[in-house]
C-alpha cells in the first residue's frame, strides 16, 4: 500500500520526511527514530521504493539543450526585440495599466455589493514591473478583477466561455486554476449546465 495517507502518525511522518528529501542530490539521512521505524515497517519501505522508482524514471527525462548556437543568439534577439518595441511602442500592449485595473475592479466592486467585504486592490504593486505578481493576481481574482487579466490571457471565444462559467460556478478563487484542477466529469457537468442555460450551444 504505497500511500502517504496512513493512519499511523509515525508512518505519515516518515513518508513526509521521505518526500521532503525527494530529488536532493545527496538526501540527508532520516533522524534515527525514523530510520528505526523504516527498518521495521514494510509499508514505509515499499513507499520509499516507489519514490526511488519515480526518481529513476525522472532521471531518464532529457535535459533541455537547444545547442550552442542558441545561446549566442539570445542577447541579439533580446536587443532586437527591445529596439522594435522602442520604435513601435508595441511593448505597451502587454502592460496592464494599474489605473485601468483599479477602475475596472472598482466598477466590479460597485456592481457587486456582496463583495465589498473583500480585500481591495493596491494598484502600486500591479504595475511595478509591468507584470502581475502572484499575490496581485490572486487579489484581482478575489475581487473579480481577474476578468481584466483574462483579456491578456485568452482568445475572445475562450474568454466568453470562462465568463459564462461564472454564472454557474462560484469562481471565488483563481478561475483558471480551478478549471485546470477539475476532472473531465466535472467539466462535463459544467458544460451541461451551460447548455441548459443557453450560455453555450450544443
Amino acid at each position: 500500500m504505497n500511500t502517504p495517507h496512513s493512519t499511523n502518525p509515525d508512518c505519515r511522518a516518515v513518508r513526509q520526511a521521505l518526500e521532503d528529501r525527494f530529488g536532493a542530490a545527496v538526501p540527508p539521512a532520516l533522524a534515527g527514530e525514523r530510520e528505526r521505524h523504516l527498518a521495521g515497517c514494510a509499508e514505509c519501505r515499499a513507499y520509499r521504493a516507489s519514490l526511488q522508482r519515480l526518481q529513476e524514471g525522472l532521471r531518464t527525462l532529457p535535459a533541455p539543450d537547444p545547442g550552442p548556437r542558441y545561446w549566442a543568439n539570445v542577447l541579439p534577439a533580446v536587443r532586437s526585440r527591445l529596439d522594435r518595441r522602442r520604435e513601435t511602442g508595441a511593448g505597451r500592449r502587454v502592460w496592464i495599466p494599474a489605473a485601468a485595473v483599479a477602475i475596472v475592479a472598482g466598477l466590479l466592486l460597485w456592481a457587486t455589493p456582496q463583495r465589498l467585504s473583500q480585500p481591495g486592490l493596491e494598484a502600486g504593486g500591479v504595475e511595478q514591473y509591468g507584470y502581475l505578481d502572484l499575490p496581485d493576481y490572486n487579489r484581482l481574482a478575489r475581487v473579480g478583477g481577474a476578468e481584466v487579466l483574462m483579456d491578456s490571457l485568452l482568445e475572445p471565444a475562450e474568454r466568453e466561455f470562462v465568463m459564462g462559467l461564472s454564472g454557474v460556478l462560484d469562481l471565488s478563487t483563481d478561475p483558471v486554476d480551478r478549471l485546470s484542477e477539475m476532472d473531465e466529469q466535472a467539466v462535463e457537468t459544467i458544460l451541461q449546465k451551460l447548455k441548459e442555460q443557453s450560455v453555450i450551444q450544443s
Binding site: E19, A25, P64, Y70, V78, L179, S180
Partner: protein, 180 residues
C-alpha cells in the same frame, strides 16, 4: 579578476552602462531558458518567454531596489510568464480548443532500454504536464532546478509550508502515474 556580482552589474546598468545588462543576460539566459523549458516542454515557448523575461527585466531594472536578489527577481518574472502560459494552455486543453503534443527530444541509449525508457518518459511527461500549474512550477523549481524550498517560496511569494505541500502533492500524483 573575478566577474562582477549582480549588485555591481545592476548598479552599473542603473548608472547608464548598457553593457552591464548584456552581462546579466549572458549569466542568466541558461537557467531562465531551462526552467521555462522544463515548465512548458516547448523550445519555442521557452525561447520566446526567455526573451520576454529579459525585456521585462530591462524595463524594470532601472527601478530595481534590491528588495530581493536579482536571481529571485528574474526567476519571478520568468515563472510568472511561464505560469500564465501554462494556465492558458491547460485552459485550452480543458476546453478542447487545441491539443498539446509531447515533444521529447532524441536520446541515445541501447535499443531495448530505449523502448522502456521512452515509455517511462512518456508516462512521466504526460503526468508532469497534467499537474496543476502551481504544483508543476514548484516541482520544476525544486526537482529539476534544485532550488531550496525557501528560495521557491521567495520567487512565488508564498510561505515555505505551502511550497512543501505543493511539492508533496506533485510527487504523489507522479507516483500514482508511474504505478498505474
Amino acid at each position: 579578476m573575478p566577474p562582477p556580482d549582480d549588485t555591481e552589474l545592476i548598479r552599473r546598468f542603473q548608472a547608464g552602462e548598457e553593457s552591464a545588462f548584456n552581462e546579466l543576460v549572458r549569466k542568466y539566459q541558461q537557467p531562465v531558458y531551462t526552467a521555462l523549458h522544463r515548465l512548458l516542454n516547448s523550445h519555442e515557448e521557452a525561447e520566446d518567454l526567455s526573451q520576454e523575461t529579459f525585456i521585462k527585466a530591462y524595463t524594470g531594472l532601472k527601478n530595481f531596489r534590491g528588495d530581493s536578489s536579482f536571481f529571485t527577481w528574474i526567476y519571478r518574472i520568468a515563472t510568472n510568464l511561464g505560469l500564465n502560459a501554462l494556465r492558458r494552455r491547460q485552459l485550452r486543453r480543458i476546453l478542447s480548443l487545441d491539443s498539446i503534443g509531447l515533444t521529447l527530444t532524441s536520446r541515445t541509449p541501447g535499443p531495448d532500454r530505449q523502448v522502456e525508457d521512452r515509455e517511462t518518459q512518456e508516462i512521466l511527461s504526460r503526468a508532469i504536464d497534467r499537474l496543476p500549474p502551481k504544483q508543476k512550477l514548484v516541482f520544476t523549481l525544486r526537482y529539476f532546478e534544485n532550488l531550496p524550498h525557501a528560495e521557491i517560496a521567495r520567487i512565488m511569494n508564498r510561505n515555505v509550508g505551502t511550497i512543501k505541500a505543493n511539492y508533496h502533492q506533485a510527487i504523489r500524483k507522479l507516483q500514482k502515474a508511474v504505478q498505474a
